[in-house]
């Protein structure tokens, strides 16, 4: 089990992490060693064994549908890097489809 730098780059992209070339090399080695260690699980016979996702029986408890005071909008926005009109401000999500002037929308 040896991860290539290409594979590390792919995983990092899936995880939304930009890595330097040094980090790609470092993680290729370290993640390979950890996965190699984890290989011992493959030798365990688990036929007929159910997986444990939680040690508790997973249920969806219900509560009474009662109105209560939620957190205030301003409290929830207070930690955001950018806000506008009581909303979180982000770069265009569909910017390649809009045809609008991206710089203009950023201002």
């Amino acid at each position: 089990m040896r991860l290539t730098r290409e594979e590390v780059r792919h995983i990092a992209r899936l995880a939304r992490l930009k890595l330097s070339a040094d980090e790609e090399n470092l993680y290729a080695g370290q993640l390979s060693a950890i996965l190699e260690y984890a290989q011992r699980l493959a030798e365990v016979d688990t036929s007929g064994i159910a997986p444990t996702a939680s040690v508790l029986p997973l249920t969806a408890p219900l509560r009474k549908d009662e109105a209560h005071q939620p957190l205030k909008t301003q409290e929830l926005l207070s930690n955001a890097a950018q806000t506008e009109a009581d909303q979180f401000r982000v770069p265009p999500v569909l910017n390649n489809l809009t045809g609008e002037d991206r710089n203009g929308k950023q201002e």
């Binding site: 992490l17 365990v44 444990t52 955001a80």
Partner: protein, 490 residues
């Protein structure tokens, strides 16, 4: 006379009730201790001195305003404690030891914190942690390492290293911690204090910033089992804000009648005494079991045959859960961000620049274990082996009441000793991971010192909801021994 900061939590509570001290005295003593010692230890990321003093004065007013007809104040009223910086305290910065949460001020309290504050507890501040609780040494904090009060060149353990160091050095009467793979028990052992890991679901996780959601538990670190009892019973119990919080009622725990261990069956698992563990650790743990048998308990050799698989299982399941939980750090709703005109680029830059290396390693490991083509072989297989590990505990608890074992293979190691090799660091968790995978509670308490004068801890595990048994057994041991009363010379 004992300095105020050296009192046990229960002694401090007794002194408050007798009117011998006021909450402001206790709080000032802790703040003074932080002021003189924390430059060397670095247990705290944030000291909330003004808040603590105002809470202490409010407690003193409550006490002064009581009439004999009023119900007694809660035992914790006026007691200063600290909180690990992964638990939300409204309006107080919560960093999780990460740059990605720099400046974040939670808009609400964690349920565990809220219940303590409602009982009159005084908040001294937030304690250092490995970034997002990922680590065994507190070296992974973005805000600097915490030093072990017994030897400043050594780690305090982790990830609740700040909480353990604060309790051990007299800066706080106790401190909240969290335990996902040993993060309360191991630092408690390394710092010579007592740490309680609760049953999964026993204490609400609402307001605990998530790492591994099927493993995360909230507990506490203090100077004795007796000191932890009131904190546990105050925090635990059903919370409608956490759907995994257990509905079971929490007992009033009576420690008065527990001087004897008559009838207690202690399982000693052969798999926990491995080649390569420090001989002083094995010796002290076996001596502690002997002490408990001399007090009426019986020691029963048992086997937990899948113990050696807990490490690979944990290091697939916890990172998989972390990779999902930490997807929320995108620079949009909280935390700083690296501005870009392109949303994808902004995610990549923000997360790449502001997460530390251990967090990135675990996010990638988890992403890989969950990815198409590898899910069954890694994550799926790990979940099945987790079932076998849990079954080991279920079978053992048919025969015994508690399981006694070491907390870690060694005493506190030197800062930097394992930081170049992640797998080497993960091996430090080998004795604490199984309890998290099985969901059972555990307590770690001091049972001696190695030849270098570093504290050694022993762990007891109990069946689901067995905190009372753990606290009683550890308390009985602490009535008969003085290891927990030893203090580091700072």
């Amino acid at each position: 006379m004992t300095a105020l900061h050296d009192l046990s939590l229960l002694e401090a509570a007794g002194a408050l009730q007798q009117g011998e001290v006021c909450a402001r005295d206790l709080t000032e003593a802790c703040l003074e201790r932080i002021d003189t010692q924390d430059h060397a230890v670095h247990a705290f990321l944030e000291v909330t001195a003004d808040l603590a003093l105002s809470q202490a004065e409010a407690s003193d007013r409550r006490r002064a305003g009581r009439t004999p007809a009023d119900p007694p104040l809660p035992l914790l009223d006026g007691i200063p404690i600290a909180v690990k910086d992964v638990l939300a305290v409204k309006d107080i910065p919560a960093t999780c030891g990460s740059r990605i949460l720099e400046g974040f001020r939670p808009p609400y309290h964690a349920t565990s914190v809220r219940r303590l504050l409602e009982s009159g507890t005084v908040l001294l501040g937030k304690t250092n942690t490995d970034e997002f609780a990922m680590g065994s040494s507190t070296e992974n904090s973005a805000y600097g390492v915490t030093h072990n009060p017994w030897d400043l060149s050594r780690v305090p353990g982790g990830s609740s290293g700040g909480s353990a160091a604060a309790a051990a050095s007299g800066m706080s009467f106790a401190a909240l911690g969290t335990d996902t793979g040993g993060s309360i028990r191991q630092p408690a052992a390394f710092c010579g204090v007592t740490g309680l890991k609760t049953t999964y679901g026993r204490v609400s996780r609402y307001g605990l910033i998530a790492y591994g959601s099927s493993l995360d538990t909230v507990g506490a670190i203090g100077r004795s089992a007796a000191d932890l009892t009131a904190i546990f019973t105050t925090m635990a119990g059903h919370d409608p804000l956490d759907s995994t919080c257990l509905p079971d009622s929490v007992p009033d725990i009576d420690l008065a009648s527990t001087a004897s261990l008559e009838g207690l069956r202690i399982g000693v698992p052969e798999e926990y005494f491995i080649d390569g563990m420090q001989p002083d650790v094995e010796k002290a743990v076996r001596a502690a079991v002997d002490q408990m048998t001399a007090m009426g308990a019986s020691a029963v050799p048992i086997s937990l045959p899948h113990t050696d698989l807990a490490l690979p299982v944990y290091y697939l399941i916890a990172p998989a859960e972390a990779s999902a939980n930490l997807a929320r750090y995108d620079g949009i709703r909280f935390g700083p961000r690296k501005e870009s005109e392109d949303l994808m680029e902004q995610y990549l830059e923000t997360r790449g620049a502001l997460f530390g290396s251990e967090v990135k390693r675990r996010i990638m490991l988890g992403t890989y274990a969950l990815s198409a083509g590898y899910y069954d072989a890694y994550y799926g297989q790990a979940q099945k082996v987790r079932t076998l590990i849990k079954a080991d505990f279920d079978a053992a608890f048919e025969e015994v009441d508690v399981i006694a074992c070491p907390v870690a293979p060694t005493t506190a190691f030197e800062i930097g000793a394992h930081s170049d090799d992640p797998l080497d660091m993960y091996l430090q968790d080998v004795f604490t991971l199984p309890a998290n995978l099985a969901g059972v509670p555990g307590i770690s308490f001091p049972v001696g010192f190695d030849r270098q004068g570093l504290p050694i801890g022993m762990q007891l595990n109990a069946p689901f909801l067995g905190e009372e048994q753990l606290l009683q057994a550890a308390h009985a041991y602490q009535l008969a021994t003085d290891w927990h009363k030893e203090k580091p010379l700072l």
